[in-house]
């Protein structure tokens, strides 16, 4: 999704209303329960929250011009990888085997066999259509953020085709934007 992404893709940046700010905060807290105690640190109440609208119904949430979260249409908010690296335990994790890393880093979706093979691992209770962190065999940090197409159970039983949509991965367009403007 962010394979090509640059400043030109941002069509508008607005400081959002307090009510919208509350809504964003609430939905992030709902999505990531482990994140709640951190919320005040990461999204300080005082600092202005800016939402950048981009093409393809994409929104970026910025604090102090650092992108922290993104979402598509009305989908769930997902942290950027830089944020996830700081707080790795806020998301459910899937692990892919070593062979898959190369493809994931060039933007491929995550296929079932890469998760079910000996190098892979799944958090059991993940349902479909939830954001997950994609870890890799033998690596400490996440390499991508994805949006599950199948539940963990289905991934194991079907074991074929796309399991997780690759939303944001290392060295993609969003990764390269550390600060906006």
């Amino acid at each position: 999704m962010f394979k090509k992404f640059s400043f030109e893709d941002i069509s508008a940046q607005n400081q959002v209303k307090a009510s919208v700010q509350r809504k964003i905060r609430q939905s992030i807290a709902d999505e990531y329960p482990g994140f709640e105690p951190l919320l005040d640190d990461i999204l300080p109440k005082k600092a202005p929250l800016i939402v950048a609208k981009c093409q393809n119904h994409l929104n970026l949430v910025l604090v102090n011009s650092v992108p922290l979260f993104f979402n598509i249409r009305d989908g769930p908010y997902m942290p950027t990888l830089r944020l996830l690296h700081q707080y790795p335990d806020i998301m459910k994790k899937f692990q892919v085997d070593r062979g898959a890393i190369k493809f994931v880093l060039s933007g491929a979706n995550i296929m079932c066999p890469g998760l079910t093979s000996p190098g892979g691992a799944l958090d059991e209770e993940v349902l479909e259509e939830t954001p997950v962190a994609i870890m890799a065999e033998g690596k400490q940090h996440a390499l991508a953020i994805g949006y599950t197409k199948l539940s963990a159970k289905d991934i194991k039983t079907i074991n074929k085709g796309i399991a997780v949509d690759n939303m944001h991965y290392l060295n993609d367009g969003l990764w390269k934007i550390e600060r906006l403007e």
Partner: protein, 201 residues
């Protein structure tokens, strides 16, 4: 869960910007290697061995070179020149931005763009004057005075500052710029027309 989880500090590679452990999958691992050797030697134990081997190779090469220069001066010079040219491109390669993009030296050029607003009113944007060592605040004052309009220094996209001048002054701004600041050659001034750069002179 009263205690807050602490933020993890991730070691990012100084060359490609990825977390150090993913350098091997990065755009050019070769360039990251020297950085990794001094900053994260434990991540890639293989690298150190490689380095030792490389050192050994270099040493033998040097020995050979010495031997050659001992036998004949002309050949020794040639080999020195060859090694010099080999090191030069290497240095250029290091100048890459994180992410593998080749770093461009910022071209010294002034870009003038006309933005139409409200159909019959427009703003002329002048970018890049600062690259010639011109103070933007001074420049905006001068522009405003000359054309009798509002001119302000505005933060444009991507941290760059530019001058917005009210009204369409594109027709004689080139002359004004070259007259006021002789450092700026007319050939370095460009107009933007339909999203394309057109030389002014």
């Amino acid at each position: 869960m009263a205690e807050k989880p602490q933020a993890v500090r991730v070691l990012y590679c100084g060359v490609c910007g990825l977390p150090a452990e993913y350098c091997e999958f990065g755009p050019d691992f070769e360039n990251c290697k020297p950085w990794l050797r001094c900053h994260a030697p434990d991540l890639y134990p293989d690298l150190l061995n490689e380095e030792n081997r490389a050192d050994a190779d270099e040493a033998t090469q040097k020995l050979q070179a010495v031997a050659i220069s001992g036998s004949g001066d002309g050949r020794g010079d040639a080999s020195a020149a060859a090694s010099g040219s080999a090191s030069a491109p290497k240095q250029e390669e290091v100048k890459r931005l994180p992410g593998g993009k080749i770093k461009k030296k910022e071209k010294q050029e002034v870009v003038i763009e006309k933005i139409v607003r409200n159909k019959r009113k427009c703003v002329t944007v002048v970018k890049g004057l600062d690259l010639f060592g011109i103070k933007l605040s001074d420049a905006s004052k001068k522009l405003g005075k000359k054309f009798a309009t509002g001119a302000s220094v505005v933060k444009g996209p991507t941290e760059k500052e530019q001058i917005d001048v009210q009204g369409d002054i594109a027709y004689d701004i080139v002359e004004f710029i070259t007259d006021t600041w002789p450092d700026v050659p007319a050939t370095a001034i460009f107009f933007v027309e339909d999203g394309r750069k057109v030389a002014a002179a």
